[in-house]
């Protein structure tokens, strides 16, 4: 039922895009402008926080938490996952190929380029999706998107890309612009019984407490993914973060890596362009 309505929505949106593409340039989406406005908002709201420090989420907002975290980082809780990820990444599939064959530069130091827009399939491809595509193409069964193996693999890939600035590209393709727009719409749309949007917490209230936690700013929030959350006592991917966020606001989470989530990741990553990858991260 939901799939059908999503489909009809997509068709309607496509039809709409067909109409609007004929409209004058003033009405078209300008992602670069959007990203600048988004970053400027945070810079103005938190004048003391350095731009590259936003990737450290709540630690950029709270001195006490930062001290605890710095101590923790000497012996990070994601170490086991990182090591497992490294091993998995290097282990060949049954057909002898490896993950490295599926990615540019052998998969090393490429995290900052994901998600990308696949112009052939007309869809956003996240790193998690690319990893499972790689597995399927090599005759392996796909992994769960939320944790365990997927988190370990993305942890390793993020680790090899640490410090590299997010470099998300939006090709000159109306479908890519539409994905960006839809991601933005998802980000600002209120949902769930609590009637929160992503922005309610991560744009309006970063640095404030939500129960015992300090909210992270939306700017740079994906740079630290995947994360080890003490609350989960384990690792979680971007998919896990999105689905958990949705259930925490008492909404019904979507399927991991559904179109909406991928578009959201595309939007949220693009507006953090220029900020360094810091994953894997550790959060309370």
């Amino acid at each position: 039922m939901r799939a059908r309505s999503a489909l009809s929505f997509a068709t309607a949106a496509l039809a709409l895009a067909g109409v609007t593409s004929a409209a004058p340039a003033a009405d078209t989406v300008d992602p670069a402008h959007e990203a600048k406005a988004f970053q400027d908002f945070f810079i103005k709201k938190f004048p003391k926080v350095k731009l590259e420090d936003f990737v450290n989420g709540p630690y950029s907002m709270n001195e006490d938490m930062r001290k605890q975290w710095e101590e923790k980082e000497q012996f990070p809780p994601y170490e086991f996952a990182l090591e497992a990820g490294k091993e998995m990444f290097a282990t060949p599939f049954k057909n002898g190929k490896t993950y490295a064959d599926c990615f540019a530069n052998g998969g090393i130091g490429v995290r900052q380029n994901y998600p990308t827009f696949d112009e052939k399939d007309g869809m956003v491809v996240t790193l998690e999706l690319a990893l499972n595509k790689c597995r399927l193409a090599n005759g392996e069964t796909p992994y769960s998107y939320v944790k365990d193996e997927m988190a370990s693999l993305t942890a390793y890939m993020a680790y090899t890309s640490r410090g590299k600035p997010f470099d998300i590209k939006i090709p000159n393709d109306p479908r890519a612009l539409q994905a960006f727009e839809k991601g933005k719409e998802y980000f600002y749309t209120r949902r769930g019984q609590l009637n929160f949007s992503c922005a309610s917490c991560h744009v309006q209230n970063p640095g404030e407490r939500i129960r015992a936690e300090i909210l992270a700013p939306a700017l740079g929030i994906l740079n630290a993914m995947p994360i080890y959350r003490s609350e989960w006592s384990g690792m979680g991917t971007i998919s896990r973060r999105f689905t958990t966020c949705n259930s925490q606001i008492r909404g019904v989470p979507l399927e991991p890596q559904s179109e909406e989530y991928r578009d959201l990741e595309y939007y949220l990553s693009y507006v953090s362009n220029g900020l360094p990858i810091s994953g894997p991260g550790a959060r309370p």
Binding site: E79, F80, E83, A84, S233
Partner: protein, 103 residues
């Protein structure tokens, strides 16, 4: 398989600070899995650190300790390059140990 233990021992003045992270499920025996069946208890009962054959830290643990436990303590009387041996034993009789040099 990689070791379940990570250890770092650093000499600072006359005290040695030891940090350890152990990978272990630490199941309490009270939690049910997705099928509604109890996950049997599986936890570390004994953890010890030996410096030159002498025990410098020993812990008797139960189910209240978290998954993947982290331990930090300090002791006196070690020199740089000495070896420190960490070992644990769980309720299923499994055990692991690791020897590291004090830095």
């Amino acid at each position: 398989m990689a070791s379940s233990i990570r250890v770092r021992a650093i000499l600072n003045g006359d005290t040695t600070e030891v940090q350890t992270l152990i990978q272990h499920p630490m199941d309490t025996g009270l939690v049910k899995d997705s099928k509604g069946e109890l996950i049997p208890a599986h936890y570390i009962q004994q953890l010890s650190f030996e410096h030159n054959g002498k025990t410098v830290f020993q812990a008797d643990w139960g189910t209240a300790v978290s998954k993947d436990p982290y331990v930090k303590f300090a002791f006196k009387g070690a020199a740089k390059g000495d070896e420190i041996k960490v070992s644990w034993l769980d309720n299923k009789g499994a055990t692991d140990n690791l020897t590291a040099k004090i830095q």
